[in-house]
């Protein structure tokens, strides 16, 4: 069994194999999909599921964005509270935490590592069904009625059972059970990825020859495994608080609501790094491939992913500067928050440096990557305002915070997801999409996104609190601009869905390596065969050696 070197496989050398049946057509029928243990199919199922969640939560956002165009609330305050709670809960638990790791991560981790599948394929399928179960339980909570606590479930408002035991606790208990189950799915994905990266790398692929998307997915998996159990116990204690009123978080019985915030944010801040680290991984891939230039500062980016994974566990208190937490603890958390900002800054600088002297193709994936640099940098910089203690006292729980986390989560993770989808669409589905259509999508999304959320910075600094169904008329102009922007953004995303689905049906057949990339997933046919590689690939270079790199001058630099 000869192992062809990566070079030959990429450029269809003599070792190229005739087209075998790909994973989509290898088995037929719904049952083959429902019982598949192929990491690629599970990735596709996750992608479809999470994007559906994104669609639903996005429509909810458009509904209350329309309502916010006028100072009074047409929906009514109770319905508004329920809508923003659902928007938050669905976006965080169902969409954005599994989206990149479980969809693109599941699909491309084994391919990039040059192995046949993840370490525990059946556990992988189980994690998908646990996700589906969690989704159903959360939907049951929505139907059960008044879930209006916000996705943060702060006590004592989230303790719905009264002193004498009456009170409708069903929606709250169902929602926490749903989030508990979804957390479990996240843990299973994390365990799978860590073991796969440790134990199943292709021969010759040392840690420094792994693609940066794999590094980012590894760091994300570490956070998922270390943080999610604490969410599980927090939700369990909240359930016990509602059912038995044990009183740990309920001040009426001697508990401490700030303790609940410690428990909650110990998970939820690392969770925001679960959301953004895979996005960093995608951007490191796309920016290097589409500028045909070795990624700048590979070691710095790889190590900063792991550094973020660790430091992210030290900073959760910056969500609680005004919560009555001790001022000394607030100071410590503020200092550590600035420590976690440095690795992120290093990454952004390295990406911009990668563009220097590259051969940059302006395709859809690159345009989304450049958009990411624009929006994520704004998101990151505004994080510094919120990290500074005195300024955060003013900005906390205002629209400034809403704008910041949308710039980081939507401007970061969702734009990177779009960049990743456009980068890997040919490999996943074997079809090419229309670049012209994609360009319209990028423009719409860029304009809509910035219009929606940049105005919210000023709303927040002017004094508009979060989660307000009705507000002072003085803020109305900002809200009108923001709502119009959100409709443009909605249109842009809908248009993206349309042309991608169109491309699925009648797109051109995609070649094995449309972008001339150098990492292992492009060394197999598009879409890949069920066992990914005809023979185990042998790796002897890192995944960023493009033929376009001018070797002659290379000797002088290395």
């Amino acid at each position: 069994m000869t192992t062809t070197t990566l070079e030959e496989q990429i450029h269809g050398g003599h070792g190229a194999h005739p087209e075998e049946v790909d994973y989509l057509r290898a088995k037929r029928g719904i049952w083959s999909w429902m019982t598949t243990v192929d990491h690629k199919r599970i990735g596709v199922m996750y992608m479809v599921g999470t994007l559906l969640g994104f669609l639903v939560a996005g429509v909810l956002a458009l509904i209350f964005r329309a309502d916010l165009m006028t100072p009074d609330s047409e929906l009514g305050r109770e319905l508004y509270n329920k809508l923003f709670t659902l928007h938050g809960a669905i976006m965080v638990f169902i969409f954005i935490i599994p989206a990149i790791p479980a969809a693109l991560g599941n699909f491309f981790l084994p391919l990039m590592l040059g192995t046949k599948d993840v370490a525990f394929p059946r556990l992988n399928l189980m994690s998908f069904y646990v996700w589906v179960l969690g989704l159903i339980v959360l939907l049951a909570a929505i139907i059960a009625g008044n879930l209006d606590t916000g996705w943060t479930f702060y006590t004592p408002y989230s303790i719905k059972s009264n002193a004498d035991g009456s009170g409708n606790i069903a929606p709250l208990v169902l929602a926490t059970t749903g989030a508990f189950i979804l957390g479990f799915s996240s843990i299973l994905t994390g365990v799978n990825f860590i073991v796969t990266v440790h134990k199943m790398r292709a021969p010759g692929m040392t840690w420094n020859r792994m693609p940066l998307f794999v590094w980012a997915s590894y760091a994300t998996a570490v956070i998922q495994v270390l943080a999610t159990p604490v969410l599980a116990i927090t939700l369990l204690l909240l359930m016990l608080e509602n059912v038995f009123q044990i009183g740990i978080f309920n001040p009426a019985w001697g508990g401490d609501p700030v303790l609940f915030q410690h428990f909650f944010w110990f998970y939820s801040h690392p969770a925001v790094y679960i959301m953004i680290l895979p996005a960093f991984g995608i951007i490191s891939e796309t920016i290097s491939v589409h500028s045909k230039k070795h990624i700048f500062g590979y070691k710095a980016i790889a190590l900063s992913s792991v550094a973020i994974a660790i430091i992210s566990f030290l900073v959760w208190g910056h969500h609680m500067f005004v919560s009555g937490q001790s001022e000394f603890a607030a100071a410590l958390f503020s200092f550590l928050t600035f420590a976690v900002a440095v690795p992120t800054a290093i990454k952004v600088f390295s990406w911009v440096a990668t563009l220097y002297k590259g051969v940059i193709t302006w395709n859809a994936s690159m345009l989304y990557t450049l958009t990411f640099l624009f929006t994520f940098t704004i998101g990151g910089l505004t994080g510094i305002f919120l990290g500074a203690l005195s300024v955060d006292i003013h900005f906390h729980d205002s629209y400034f915070v809403v704008a910041h986390f949308h710039y980081v989560m939507m401007g970061g993770t969702v734009i990177a997801l779009l960049a990743g989808i456009h980068h890997w669409f040919p490999k996943m589905f074997g079809k090419m999409y229309n670049e012209g259509h994609a360009r319209i999508g990028v423009i719409l999304v860029f304009i809509g996104f910035n219009m929606t959320f940049f105005t919210q910075f000023m709303l927040g600094s002017q004094g508009m609190p979060r989660r307000y169904a009705e507000y002072d008329p003085v803020f109305q102009p900002y809200h009108v601009i923001s709502s119009i922007g959100s409709f443009i953004l909605g249109a842009g995303l809908l248009w993206t869905l349309v042309y991608l689905v169109m491309a699925l049906k009648n797109g051109k057949k995609a070649p094995a390596n449309p972008w001339g990339a150098a990492s292992l997933e492009w060394a197999t046919q598009s879409p890949p065969i069920e066992h990914n590689f005809h023979e185990t690939p042998h790796v002897d270079t890192d995944p960023y050696n493009y033929p376009e790199i001018d070797r002659t001058a290379a000797k002088a630099h290395h």
Binding site: T35, V37, I187, V230, L240, Q245, I246, I248, W253, G254
Partner: protein, 246 residues
Amino acid sequence: MSTAHVGHEAALGHDAHGDGHDHAAHPPHLRHHFDNSGQQESAAKLGMWIFLATELLMFSGLFLAYFVVRSNYPEMVLEAHERLDKILGAINTVVLIFSSLTMALAVRASQTNQRVQARWYLLVTILCAMTFMVVKYMEYSAKIEHGTLPGRFYAEHVQDLAAGVEGTLDRWYGGYQLFFGIYFAMTGLHGIHVLVGIGLIIWIMWKNEKGAYSSEYYTPVENVGLYWHLVDLIWIFLFPLLYLVK
């Protein structure tokens, strides 16, 4: 990979992550995506240790809640834990540590190809686990009868013979519901883990009877062993904190 496996594992909740027990090409237990059994075994072991990490972190939340309540209301915690039966707690500790021993010997037996010995050790482990649950049931029923329960269910009948006083404490006057909230959360969650452990060991015993395990392939036994030792480990910390500490 027949569907039976998938449903079977999902039903068990978080199963032992050594899922290499189906019948691909030679050797029988090697799964297709692994290059050799060494790689598969180390992968399963690492997966199990990471899963144990998540269990540890989950229980750490409960221990933190205990220490916070203890630091906020020290006298209340010290008085409340007088109501726990030290003897029953001690018995449970001995039973659980003994089951940990027999589990370790079961793993050793299957490592050294002694399937029959493994069967008996596993059986003893299950019996010890069940004794643990029975003792727990006795403790819980005593508490329900005395009314020392969490939250609004708390209504303890007080008979202070020295002060010649009798009456019912409830959470308005001097009730210890906060402590018993933590007590039932910790021991309840631990009890559930013991029950899941019993289920896993029975599954391992059944597979052992069918001759699945040998010195060539015993990863599932080892992983269930690791899980069981973790359950014992948590009780080793639970017992002094809840029952003993003055």
